[in-house]
Amino acid sequence: MMAKPRKITYRPATNPSRCDAMAKKYDWEQPQDPKLRYQANPTDPILSVNCGFYGDAEFPKSRMDLTQGDADE
C-alpha cells in the first residue's frame, strides 16, 4: 500500500488548485478530508495554503543540485 495515512506532509502553495496539480504531477496522494488537504495559512501573504499529502511527499531529487541533497533529512 503506497498511501501512508499515518503520516501527513504539508507543502505550501499559493492556492488549493496548486495542491491538486502537484499531487497529480508528482503522484502524491491527498487526504480525503478537505481540512487536511488544504490547511489555510493566513499569516503568509504569498504561500497562503499548506497542501496536505500522505507520506513523505518528496520532490524527485534527480534534477536537483545534489550538493543540497539530504540536508533536511
Binding site: 500500500m1 503506497m2 498511501a3 495515512p5 499515518r6 503520516k7 501527513i8 506532509t9 504539508y10 507543502r11 505550501p12 502553495a13 499559493t14 492556492n15 496548486r18 491538486d20 496539480a21 502537484m22 499531487a23 497529480k24 504531477k25 503522484d27 496522494e29 491527498q30 487526504p31 480525503q32 478530508d33 478537505p34 481540512k35 487536511l36 488537504r37 490547511q39 504569498i46 504561500l47 499548506n50 513523505d56 511527499a57 520532490f59 534534477r63 536537483m64 543540485d65 543540497q68 540536508a71 533536511d72
Partner: protein, 144 residues
C-alpha cells in the same frame, strides 16, 4: 487525463442513523475530488482528531467508511464534461471496528519549510512567479 471520483453509498450495508452522513459523503468528504489518474489506493478511510485544535490533527485511526469494490469507470464524453476524461464510481460502505480494537494512534506530521534548495520548476508548481523565487528562497527555515 483526469478522473472524477464519486462515492455511491450502499444503503443496504449502512445503518439507518448513518444514511444522512452517507448521503453527504461525496461532497463533504471530498468524493468529487479530482486526483488525476489516481484511483483510491486505500479502501479504508482514516479519521483524524486533535481535541484541542480540530484543524491540526495529532492522532489517526481507521474510520468507519470503506470502499467496497474496485469501482466502475465511465468515459466522460458527454457535452459539458470537458473537465474530466473519466468518471469512476465506487460503492461506499460503513463498517466501524469495535472501539476496543481501534485505538487512536499518533499521527506523524511534517511541514516542508526549507525553500532554499527548491528548483525554479518546483517553485512554479507551488504557484510562485519568477519575481517571488528569491524572496521565498531566502526565508528562514521554520521548524514544525
Amino acid at each position: 487525463m483526469s478522473k472524477l471520483i464519486v462515492f455511491r453509498p450502499d444503503y443496504d450495508q449502512i445503518p439507518a442513523d448513518k444514511w444522512e452522513e452517507a448521503g453527504k459523503f461525496t461532497p463533504s468528504v471530498n468524493g468529487t475530488h479530482q486526483t488525476g489518474d489516481r484511483i483510491p489506493e486505500t479502501t479504508q478511510f482514516y479519521d483524524y482528531i486533535n481535541p484541542e485544535h480540530p484543524e491540526d490533527p495529532t492522532h489517526c485511526r481507521p474510520g468507519p467508511w470503506q470502499i467496497l469494490d474496485d469501482g466502475q469507470s465511465y468515459v466522460a464524453d458527454m457535452p459539458g464534461m470537458q473537465d474530466f476524461d473519466e468518471v469512476a464510481v465506487y460503492r461506499l460502505g460503513y463498517s466501524p471496528l469495535p472501539e476496543s480494537e481501534n485505538p487512536w494512534e499518533p499521527l506523524e506530521v511534517e511541514h516542508k519549510t526549507d525553500f532554499a534548495g527548491l528548483t525554479d520548476e518546483q517553485m512554479t508548481d507551488m504557484g510562485l512567479t519568477p519575481e517571488q523565487f528569491d524572496q521565498v528562497r531566502s526565508r528562514e527555515s521554520v521548524g514544525v
